[in-house]
């Protein structure tokens, strides 16, 4: 197992995750890396963002990240979203955040982009179908948005909903899934520093096929948990329904943490093919983010809660 560890997982001395997540800033400052300093100030391509917690693995080429997508609202084939998502109008766009909170609010997407400190987060993405990518997202921590609406003690889970607009999302014209697409997280998962809302990719504004204008990224879970084109986020008391769990409850659980020990009837979860590589590689528990997130599940049977 040790030799399979990604380079970003070798530094396990840091105990405070807040400090740890900013390590690259310290390293960057100490080493005087012009690259990071430049990224820290501005991007020439629309988004202003700073460096954030990232893997040092080589990012998957942009054409693969933007050309090989599961986004059933635009068709069931991997090439469909790139082909059909152009019809989606992402402005004007608002996100309603409500439920068990003191200050429910509706945010305009541009206010979210301007009002939050954007960071680049280069994360591994493991699809439940046995392939993976390394994706340079630009986004902000989900916990910041949740904090802004002041959750009450009844906020035990967070429910997410995708836009429902069959006129622009041709895949919604038949019920391959129960629309709108829904996802959910437990509140402690949602407020974990690794969970982000992404608004950009490779420094650019997020392409439609990748979930524009706002999508969830939870790198230790299978990719389908990363709900796209979000219009509503609700703080709720009970575990919310999720799209793939409604479709096939025995195959897709609520948690859906990347777990090589839990088999799927269709795909081997022990290994994965990194897009662009020839040989399969071993899949790591929690997609290699175990040292940051495993504590969330202490005492839970992850085979039963798959």
């Amino acid at each position: 197992m040790l030799i399979r560890r990604a380079p970003d997982l070798t530094d396990n001395d840091v105990t405070d995750p807040g400090l740890y997540l900013r390590r690259r800033e310290f390293i960057g400052a100490a080493a005087g890396l012009g690259l990071l300093a430049a990224a820290g100030t501005a991007s020439a391509r629309g988004l202003t963002y700073g460096p954030g917690f990232s893997t040092t693995e080589k990012p998957t080429p942009r054409k693969d990240i933007t050309g090989y997508n599961n986004f059933y609202e635009f068709g069931v084939n991997k090439e469909d979203p790139a082909e059909n998502a152009g019809s989606l109008k992402t402005r004007p766009w608002t996100v309603r955040v409500d439920g068990a909170c003191e200050k429910p609010a509706t945010f305009a997407i541009d206010d979210l982009i301007k009002g939050n400190k954007l960071e680049e987060r280069i994360y591994r993405m493991r699809c439940v179908e046995g392939w993976s990518m390394v994706i340079p997202w630009v986004g902000f921590p989900l916990k910041d948005l949740i904090a802004a609406v002041r959750p009450t003690s009844k906020a035990k889970f967070v429910a997410f909903e995708t836009l429902m607009r069959p006129s622009e999302m041709p895949g919604q014209r038949w019920d391959v899934l129960q629309w709108p697409y829904r996802e959910g997280l437990r509140i402690d998962e949602a407020t974990h520093p690794l969970a982000i809302l992404a608004v950009g990719l490779y420094g650019d504004v997020l392409p439609n096929q990748n979930g524009a204008p706002l999508r969830l990224v939870v790198p230790w879970k299978y990719g389908f948990k990363g709900i796209k084109s979000i219009v509503r986020i609700s703080l709720v008391e009970t575990m919310p329904a999720t799209a793939w769990n409604l479709s096939a409850p025995r195959e897709y659980g609520f948690y859906s943490n990347v777990n090589p020990a839990v088999d799927h009837p269709r795909w081997s979860q022990a290994t994965e093919r990194r897009i662009g590589e020839f040989r399969r590689r071993e899949t790591l528990p929690f997609n290699g983010y175990g040292q940051y997130v495993a504590d969330l599940y202490r005492g839970m049977d992850l085979r039963a809660n798959f």
Partner: protein, 244 residues
């Protein structure tokens, strides 16, 4: 009652000896009935014509493979070419199995009994595609990880069914030669080859279980299989009734 399959039969009209090599065993009553009318009504194609038709069938069976090879070399199979290639080869194997199943009804309905000689060609091509499908999965996807292969067969139902179908297909390919027909005897050979009515549904089930949510493509194949099998039931029922 059975004729020697190598003797001149309904599927090989008089003077068609040059075709004996490709001539599959007759379909018994089915072929004879179809052939009865055809022999009088139709003019026999020339040897050249016949070879051209045969070459066209071969080329048609080869074409998907050439096309796929071209797509591999021109990097046209998307971000996950290995998975796309395995899937495509498998789908073509299934399509050829269905073409093979369609030949007998087509020969009867179109009154062209000589179509029957292509059953072996198409069947062996289907087998070749399925072999290649399996080899690509084992050799490229799993990179000869035999332990993983065993796990896959035991734990992933679609692979279990696929392997079962392939295993049953092997004896059919092995006994596809005229020599094997002779050795087994026509009736035994025929009964053995009825296995195809189990293998093709297994192939469709293999595809169905592999699909994540959009089951339309495998259901289209299932519908075609249902029609091809239904025709046989209907046809056998009709013949039983006319005998009575």
């Amino acid at each position: 009652m059975w004729r020697n399959p190598l003797s001149r039969s309904a599927t090989a009209p008089p003077g068609g000896e040059h075709l004996a090599r490709h001539n599959p065993p007759p379909l018994g009553e089915v072929a004879r009935r179809a052939g009865g009318g055809a022999r009088k009504a139709k003019k026999r194609p020339s040897k050249l014509q016949d070879n051209l038709i045969y070459a066209a069938v071969w080329l048609a069976c080869f074409a998907p493979l050439v096309w796929l090879a071209w797509r591999v070399f021109s990097d046209d199979l998307g971000a996950n070419p290995i998975e796309a290639l395995i899937r495509q080869i498998g789908v073509w194997g299934l399509r050829l199995l269905l073409v093979g199943l369609a030949i007998t009804p087509a020969a009867r309905i179109l009154n062209k009994p000589r179509l029957l000689r292509f059953r072996r060609t198409v069947g062996l091509f289907a087998f070749s595609y399925i072999c290649l499908h399996l080899l690509t999965y084992i050799g490229v996807d799993l990179f000869f990880d035999w332990r993983q292969l065993v796990k896959d067969i035991l734990k992933r139902p679609f692979i279990t069914l696929g392997m079962l179908g392939f295993t049953l297909l092997v004896p059919l390919a092995v006994t596809s030669t005229n020599g094997m027909v002779r050795r087994l005897g026509r009736a035994t050979w025929q009964r053995l080859h009825w296995l195809v009515y189990l293998i093709v549904p297994l192939g469709v089930a293999h595809y169905y279980l592999l699909v994540k949510a959009d089951h339309r493509p495998p259901l289209v194949y299932a519908a075609i299989v249902a029609v091809l099998m239904g025709w046989r039931v209907w046809d056998a029922w009709g013949r039983a009734k006319s005998k009575a």
